[in-house]
């Protein structure tokens, strides 16, 4: 009991404030779908969150203030520092991490709620116990799945699809075991076994690992978006368990809007969600390493590349994640400036998932002050490719691989690509011949009109700019 306890849980005042909060979430999301209002929309949603948190702190029955302050303080500080320090290039894994801790919080809340229910010594009503179990399972899957996604994007573990023998069978067995354990707890709701509950958390953790590990890095954006929707649903389940309307509404909205976003993302990559989850990029063509016998390719230096570029009429720059990693935005802009000074038309071809997520590359290039009009979308630029004199690929790989169009057996078959292979000449700036994110060889590198320039993207770009200046 504290002086702050002014609102009754489930009372009219508290509920009214929660309604204000989730209305602000909805308005914020709606504004988030338009470029001009998106930033404002994020602020509106954050204001809604402030209302929701303040309301909860004012509820009667709040206690353990010391611990609440520690939790709030430590968590806010970590979140603040992490989001200020993170590089723009690392945004996708940051989102994965934040999503993971959200799922982890739900799983822990479910555990605590179960202990609370047991300590009351009465039958736990099924309308509390069942959502608690749901929250525990989904939250745990989301926590571990997101951590694996983070580790893959951060290159802590191999980004290549990891084939686990009998993976589908193990997943089904795990799922059945979890369901059986949940049923057992629900039947014995007078005195549910806590060790069994912890077993469920662990089984769900393994399931989260098993589902995400086999998925290749190129599909990670879809996976993160899906796990994001999952965390929303687990929050809604926790809302049922705790009888909290703000959790139910906000969690459900994230669940459904996250599902739509996931499907739109998958469509942008010409993949279906089921395909991502169950076929992976692994499956049969994991043996594609067998076809990696030495094939001939042409390697050039910065000077040759500069000459090819300087005598072109139009040049298309295809930026990829390698450009972001090397922080080469500004150097590439310099090359573009030199070319434009010579009257050459320069445009940038942006693949929907250039970088590592839809829209990621636009953020990076905007940072380097590349004019918005020069950024062209894939569908828009592909028809112009045959008329392009030189396409210069900077740190992009899989999104330019013609195998997606030509080889129905390729793991990336059907994925939309930027058709640089149609251009008159192609220059690929890359550090080595190593395969890209999807872990497969790129046929583009071996085409007769392709020249490889092996170097760090930033250094290569400044070298080329300097060479053009001297021509």
């Amino acid at each position: 009991m504290t002086p702050l306890a002014v609102l009754q849980p489930g009372g009219e005042a508290a509920t009214a404030l929660y309604i204000v909060a989730f209305s602000l979430f909805i308005i914020g999301l709606k504004k988030g779908t338009h470029p001009t209002t998106a930033k404002q929309g994020n602020m509106v949603a954050a204001a809604g969150m402030a209302v929701a948190v303040a309301t909860t702190l004012l509820l009667d029955g709040m206690g353990n203030w010391g611990l609440i302050i520690i939790g709030l303080g430590v968590g806010s500080a970590v979140g603040f520092v992490a989001s200020v320090r993170v590089q723009m290039t690392e945004m996708p894994q940051m989102v994965a991490l934040y999503n993971g801790v959200g799922g982890g919080a739900v799983a822990l809340i479910a555990w605590s709620e179960l202990r609370h229910g047991i300590s009351l010594g009465e039958d736990i009503p099924l309308e509390v116990l069942i959502p608690t179990l749901l929250a525990a399972v989904i939250g745990s899957v989301s926590f571990w799945g997101s951590n694996i996604a983070f580790a893959k994007l951060q290159d802590l573990i191999p980004t290549k699809p990891l084939a686990i023998p009998g993976q589908q069978v193990i997943n089904v067995v795990l799922l059945i075991a979890i369901l059986a354990a949940c049923v057992d707890l629900a039947i014995n709701n007078g005195d549910p076994s806590q060790p069994l509950f912890i077993g469920i958390l662990i089984a769900a953790a393994i399931l989260g690992n098993m589902v995400v590990l086999p998925i290749g890095g190129a599909d990670m954006p879809v996976v993160i978006s899906l796990l994001n929707a999952f965390t929303g649903l687990s929050a809604a389940a926790a809302g049922f368990a705790l009888d909290n309307v703000a959790l139910i509404v906000a969690g459900t909205i994230v669940g459904s809007s996250g599902t739509i976003l996931t499907m739109e993302m998958a469509t942008a990559m010409n993949r279906s969600v089921a395909n991502v989850l169950f076929a992976g990029f692994g499956g049969a063509p994991a043996a594609s390493a067998g076809s990696a016998e030495q094939r001939p390719y042409v390697s050039v230096g910065a000077q040759d590349a500069a000459i090819k570029l300087a005598y072109a009429d139009n040049v298309v720059i295809v930026p990829g994640y390698g450009l972001a990693v090397a922080q080469a935005q500004h150097a590439i802009k310099e090359v573009a400036n030199e070319l434009e000074a010579r009257g050459i038309t320069v445009s940038y071809a942006i693949h929907p998932v250039a970088g590592r997520m839809p829209g990621h590359m636009n953020v990076l290039l905007a940072e380097a002050d590349v004019p918005y009009e020069q950024l062209r979308e894939m569908e828009d630029i592909n028809p112009e490719m045959p008329r392009t004199d030189v396409a210069i690929v900077v740190g992009a790989n899989d999104v330019t691989n013609p195998a997606a169009k030509n080889d129905p057996d390729s793991p990336i078959a059907g994925m939309p690509i930027i058709e640089v292979d149609q251009a008159q000449q192609v220059i690929v700036i890359k550090r080595s011949m190593s395969p890209g994110f999807a872990g497969i060889d790129n046929d583009l590198f071996y085409l007769p009109n392709t020249s490889m320039l092996f170097d760090d993207a930033k250094k290569a770009a400044s070298d080329i700019a300097a060479e053009i200046q001297q021509l």
Binding site: K39, I70, T231, A246
Partner: protein
């Protein structure tokens, strides 16, 4: 609140979520995902509630971690989204870019 009322709210909220996110330009996918990610930080309320009535050592630990996780989700989520959306704010050009 009765269970059926809660389910009614859930169904309506699901439709709101579907409707709000419709035909989003690709450029906004990542920021929008990040914003919905921040919104599910609402789970921190659950953390506060269970920590509020926690009464043994393990529950103190679980509850505090849950609140901290939720706070990371909220603060980090909204701040990262704001940084991503920086690209849409009209920044004054350092110098007029005439050809």
């Amino acid at each position: 609140m009765s269970l059926m009322t809660e389910i009614a709210i859930l169904v309506l909220a699901a439709f709101v979520g579907f409707e709000v996110i419709s035909k989003v330009p690709t450029t906004l996918h990542t920021p929008l995902m990040s914003q919905t990610n921040a919104i599910h930080g609402i789970v921190m309320l659950g953390g506060l509630i269970v920590l509020g009535y926690a009464d043994d050592g393990l529950e103190y630990v679980i509850g505090t971690i849950a609140v901290a996780f939720g706070a990371i989700n909220i603060v980090g989520g909204f701040m990262v989204t704001d940084r991503m959306l920086g690209m849409f704010s009209k920044k004054p050009k350092p110098k007029a870019q005439d050809k």
